[in-house]
């Protein structure tokens, strides 16, 4: 009883902070999502409009497009980061000359703010002037213009995200791989298992919790990507890179459509939770069931 009270006392500051900076704003956003509220409307007051915003969202072509673009981006970015991150982690498990330097350089993008990453890539991708379009043209005769080509803009953002966030995946997987017990691997080798069998039947199941945790983190991050895209393309060309985060930003800030913007935020949060739950069920639940 006494230790419980001490526990609560120690937790109290964190809970208070969480309540004021997490729970309260969330409840407020949900509250606002049921209102029509634009401070620059003829009537700037907050007006309750029931579920109108939620009904409107179903027919909002720009929003639906942004969801589609975001999901595609998340798929390509996260899967690529996982694959590249795994191979890099395996590489870092071995000794090779210059490993420490390479690992440090490889981790550097992680410490860069997304807005800076977007700025740097914008400089590198400026049509005809940027270093990447210049050399793509000089070496391969490719004309890359992220201002006109939807594919080029989208692909650049995927590559930029991979460059920025793969180190996180690598570090997480290194931690997971290092902590694996050697016994199952030795046992499998004695039993005559080949590398593929060891990978799929021992390595993958054993690092699955770490993989899922990493995917959760990257999934949630990727779904709310704004800064880099804002800096690099502004959501263009057209709506080709208008991700959900950018769409919400435009609704809430320049357009000051607080009510509808809140509705989109709530829906995106819901979609994120559903996506994470599906991922959890798909990747971890069968394993847990087998254990039971």
């Amino acid at each position: 009883m006494h230790s419980n009270r001490l526990g609560w006392i120690l937790l109290a500051p964190t809970l208070v902070i969480l309540f004021f900076f997490g729970v309260l704003p969330f409840v407020y956003v949900v509250f606002v999502s049921f209102h029509s509220w634009n401070p620059f409307a003829a009537n700037p007051e907050m007006i309750f409009n029931g579920a109108d915003n939620f009904r409107k969202i179903v027919f909002d072509a720009e929003f639906l497009n942004s969801v589609g673009v975001t999901v595609t981006f998340v798929f390509f970015a996260v899967v690529s980061e996982l694959i590249v991150g795994y191979f890099l982690a395996q590489a870092f498990m071995k000794e090779f000359p210059g490993k420490a330097i390479f690992r440090t350089i490889h981790t550097l993008p992680l410490i860069m703010a997304p807005i800076i990453v977007g700025s740097v890539w914008k400089l590198m991708m400026t049509p005809s002037i940027g270093i990447i379009p210049h050399y793509l043209n000089e070496w391969f005769g490719l004309s890359v213009n992220i201002g006109t080509s939807s594919f080029a803009a989208f692909a650049t953002i995927v590559v930029m995200d991979i460059w920025h966030w793969t180190p996180l995946v690598t570090l997480t997987l290194i931690a997971a791989l290092v902590s694996l017990p050697q016994d199952p691997f030795e046992q499998a080798q004695i039993d005559g298992a080949n590398k593929r069998q060891i990978f799929f039947h021992i390595t993958v199941p054993m690092i699955a919790p770490a993989v899922v945790a990493t995917v959760f983190i990257r999934l949630m991050d990727a779904l709310r990507t704004v800064d880099e895209v804002w800096m690099l393309t502004g959501g263009g060309p057209g709506s080709a890179t208008r991700f959900v985060g950018v769409h919400i930003f435009r609704e809430v800030f320049p357009k000051t459509n607080y009510g509808y913007g809140s509705t989109i935020s709530v829906i995106v949060l819901y979609l994120t939770i559903v996506a994470c739950w599906l991922l959890y069920v798909t990747m971890l639940a069968p394993r847990n069931t087998k254990k039971d």
């Binding site: 049509p127 201002g147 320049p254």
Partner: protein, 479 residues
Amino acid sequence: MSFAHKIAVSALALAVSAGAALAGGHEDFWKKAAEPYQGVTLRGVTESSPPSLYIREVLAPQFEALTGIRVDIETTSWDQMFDKAIKDMEAGTGIYDMVYIEQDIIYSYLARNFLTDTTQLLADNPQLQAPGYDEANFTTFADYFRGDNGHLYGIPMEAFIKIYLYRTDLFGDADIQAAFKAATGRDLAPATTHAEYTEIAKFFYEYGQANDMQLWGATVQGHTGHPASWYEYFESVAPTFGVYNWGIDANNNYAASVANGGAMNSDTAKEALQWWLDLRQYAPPESNQSTWTEVGTTFGAGRAAQGLVYGENAGWIAADDTKSLVVGKVGVALPPLADGVMAAAEAGDGYIGYYDGGAFGLPSTSKQKEAAALFLEYIGQNDVQPDWAVAAPRVTNTATYDDPKVVAMNEELGGYYDMLRDKGYLFAGAPAYPFHAQVREATAPTFYKILTGDLNVSEGLDQMAAEAEASLTELGYRK
């Protein structure tokens, strides 16, 4: 001389001269008026632009040295500046005592009573009225910051027109002139019509290609995902064809479509947009990613023979050899116009381009209104204007034009200040819409699709007109 260098030199010069200048004038007033506000810190937020940086680096420290009132000026990006100011004023937190008011947002702020009536504030507090400050000193640009009662709600701090810049070295080259004459049958001179402008763009594009030069025919502010492109069309291109105020008729239930009495999707509007889109074939490849900043950079890098450029960039393009490759090679002219547009502008029935600028306003939510009013008066005085105008080309006070420093700078700028003074009345700021950003954002996604070719001009403008009306209806302005 770089801008930073100019700022540093100006700061030094002004620090040395400020004491003497103000002592000879009104130093006693400032010290006495500031007495009740000792220990006060004023906070302002503004866009990170040359005129604002001058306030932060020169005027604010000068004011602090004179009055003891500390002034912290936060300079940030265009988006962040609006975001921070609006949130502060909407929530009533009172963080900021001064906010930058871009000319096009003033009507939104006035509609929400975000701003303090500075004329009234000074009238109610005679002890705050600085001897060197007078509203009559401002140019007519100040009128954009007046409310319905004629009072000022912001002290003008920058004002410039979006002008037609051209390369005097290229236009004056005898060989190029001959080649142009041979190709077109007319003399090479800054365009006065759209057809001439396109012809010049085409000529220089082909000239650049033929001579393996990094030279194109014209700048285009054509970013496919940034409002800068939307602004170039509606503020700088459409008016030159005679489509004003974004094609929205405020006196006709805010109609945007031709069917309802607007002009956003009129044949003239479509002709204007098509003309502008066609220019892109002669523009540098970066045009599709260019905002107002990149257009200035493109011109300063010598990559375009002509272009429509915001006046705030004209200074460094024409005079700063650390940033610009075309110093001494820049001329200014009025933009090309369709028939009848100049006559309409001179008669006050239209305009030929964008008169841009901003003011420093005092939020209603400020907790230090009186002290902030003193600072606003300080930056509005005639005395502080000339060095400011040289460091960052902007003129807000009529007397500034005649200052020797500004006259000299005018020469470097190819007569830009003369044009601002003599022809400024032909230009206009953004229309008096309280829904400026809202309608822009409602229509911009479609506009970008026109730029990418996903929609043709006719379909796109029809759709934009419908979206503008739908947005205005939803906002409650259109009945």
